[in-house]
């Protein structure tokens, strides 16, 4: 792995811990046609290993340690090979970290690494949802959050799945099969959960209930994006990015609102925070090395 920087990102969320190991290599590219005669320096970044575990009432420090060692094993590297460990989320418990980055910063970077065309990111975690407008270098230009209400979050969807007796991973595919989605309150998780209980007692099909919830959640994200003037490619990250039903509802709601945006997801979208942290870690490692060289 000579010349490559191996860095790690540890994303401690409220329901899961995610670890990403990435390598970064500075490469000199061929002179660009019609451009200058200087070689252009670019960075080649690669994911080496990914690992995620749900916390499920286990001791958080142990989950972090388990995740960390599982990721190192997957990459077949040792702890000392990692030049920078960056945390994000609730990373305070990661005592072996070198630096910590805020969630918006890491999700933007990870989202753009996975989906380079993204110019906006919607990160939907267990307890929050936030929309970010970013530039081509993953810099956050603006953001909006829905933190004051739980109805746009993963925890809410998990509660609903439990009421309906459905496994969380079946929620998305089931929602895609809805024929007549039932509208739910988009304002308050308590009211929405009451709606769901009423629907169940009225015999509404689970697929229609789930699609109604997805549309309600998507409506909130579309509003956030609209308020920031986002009209372009949007990447989904966070735990709910893997929910195909939510992604479909998002596209549908955007179309309904006359917004020409494309919603992107990626199989690793839920790990975007950890990936972004690892990549920023590589950047910071280079900065700190440069400073040390100058100082010496």
């Amino acid at each position: 792995m000579s010349g490559e920087l191996l860095t790690a990102g540890v994303d401690v969320g409220s329901s899961a811990v995610k670890v990403a190991l990435t390598t970064t290599l500075d490469v000199a590219e061929a002179p660009q046609a019609g451009g200058t005669d200087k070689n252009v320096c670019a960075t080649r970044e690669k994911i080496v290993a990914l690992h995620a575990e749900r916390i499920r009432r286990r001791e958080l420090r142990k989950v972090i340690a388990d995740c960390w060692h599982a990721a190192l094993d997957k990459a077949n590297v040792s702890e000392s090979d990692v030049v920078y460990v960056a945390t994000t989320g609730e990373g305070d418990l990661v005592e072996f970290r070198r630096g910590h980055f805020y969630g918006m910063t890491t999700h933007s970077r990870g989202a753009q690494f996975l989906m380079p065309q993204a110019r906006a990111v919607v990160d939907i975690g267990a307890l929050h949802a936030r929309a970010m407008k970013i530039d081509e270098r993953s810099r956050v230009l603006n953001y909006k959050m829905t933190s004051q209400c739980a109805s746009g979050t993963g925890q809410f969807l998990e509660n609903v799945a439990r009421y309906l007796g459905i496994a969380l991973e079946d929620v998305g595919p089931m929602s895609l099969n809805a024929s007549s989605p039932e509208a739910v309150s988009s304002i308050c998780a308590v009211l929405a959960e009451t709606d769901v209980i009423n629907m169940v007692s009225r015999g509404i099909k689970a697929a229609d209930i789930l699609k109604g919830i997805h549309l309600s959640m998507a409506g909130r994200y579309v509003k956030l994006l609209r308020s920031m003037g986002v009209t372009t490619d949007v990447a989904l990250t966070g735990g709910l990015a893997a929910d195909v039903g939510l992604a479909a509802a998002f596209s549908e709601k955007a179309r309904e609102d006359g917004m020409e945006m494309t919603i992107h997801t990626h199989p690793h979208s839920h790990l975007a925070g950890a990936i972004g942290a690892a990549l920023w870690g590589a950047y910071r490692h280079r900065v700190l090395e440069r400073r040390a060289e100058i100082a010496s």
Partner: protein
Amino acid sequence: MTATLTDLLQLARSLHDDLDLTQVSKWKAAKPGRKAVGHMPIYVPRELIHAAGMLPVGVVGGGDRLEIIRGDAYFQSYICRIPRSTIELALSGRLDVLDGMLFPSICDVIRNLSGMWRMLFPDRYVHYVDVPQNFDPAVGGQFWRRELETMRDDFARLSGHPVDDEDLRASIAVYNDNRAALRDLYRERSRRPWVFPLSEVYLLLRAGNVLPPEEHTQMLRAYLRQAPLDSSRREQDQSRVVLVGMFCEQPPHGLVVTLERAGCSAVDDDLLLGLRWLTRDVAVDGDPLSNLVDAYLTASASTASRYSPDGDRARWLLDSVKRNSAEGVVFCAPSFCDPALLDQPMLVAALDRAGIPHTEFKYAEDTGQFAVIREQAGTFSDSIRLWSTP
């Protein structure tokens, strides 16, 4: 002092949490006739209180563990929180252990508080310490000397212990030791903030409000020796920031912890600035009152409640940024703090001119929700490390 690091920090934490001033009561009970004199933040000449055999006690309000019931009746809603919580402490009997109270000229609110004190507690010693805002020895110097003489006589009467020059020289030496320990702590913290995190340094500063200075100095020296021995303190990649605005009403400890967790390492600050007001030793030989006057005129810290000629405050801040290799400034001032908030635009303009990143937010001593501050400090720290770094 052979206490372990954990013991030291636990002691500092318990002193920070003790609104009943139990430590002061114990100190007084240890020797019959002992007296204690409280003072509000910013500078008071603690050497004079100490030389009279009394204990100077810093009073910084009720923090985030005091419900204000009566204190709100004394102040309008647009007044900061420290005077109302200080009144609450006094009316609830928690400050009965203090035999006197000093109110330095921080702002109009604290001046008014001194008047309220006189009316509420007519049997207790109260003095408004009118520190000079003119630094000419022939004007402010003479004025300050008269003020010090008045206090020296007052303290002699209050304690029943005349304050002679030898007593005062000895007390100046004690406080020189304390200031030197604080300077060492700030210098080392700036060099290795991960070894001396602000969340601990702040507790140790707060201990200086209630401990006798000799004990406080020992505590600081023990911390300076022991913290570097803790191998779990690893170097962190955090933004180096200067905190400005916290010289009077103190932030809740949780806020300080939040700033560090958000990725900001404080390399300089103005927390409890009164403890470090004089930036050099006070001369011990010669006339002690003249030495105190000279130190005040020539070596006072620069802060919003002290008059500075145009640009002087900004130069002080820019110098701190440079001296501590800081990458940004966090203006963190109490809500409704006139001195801090009126000073801020001029400092912001100076930082903008120098191209130094900064962010601003407000707090109250009982702020309990830190999510917004965490978000702001976290994004500020990220922006410095990722977008301001060449």
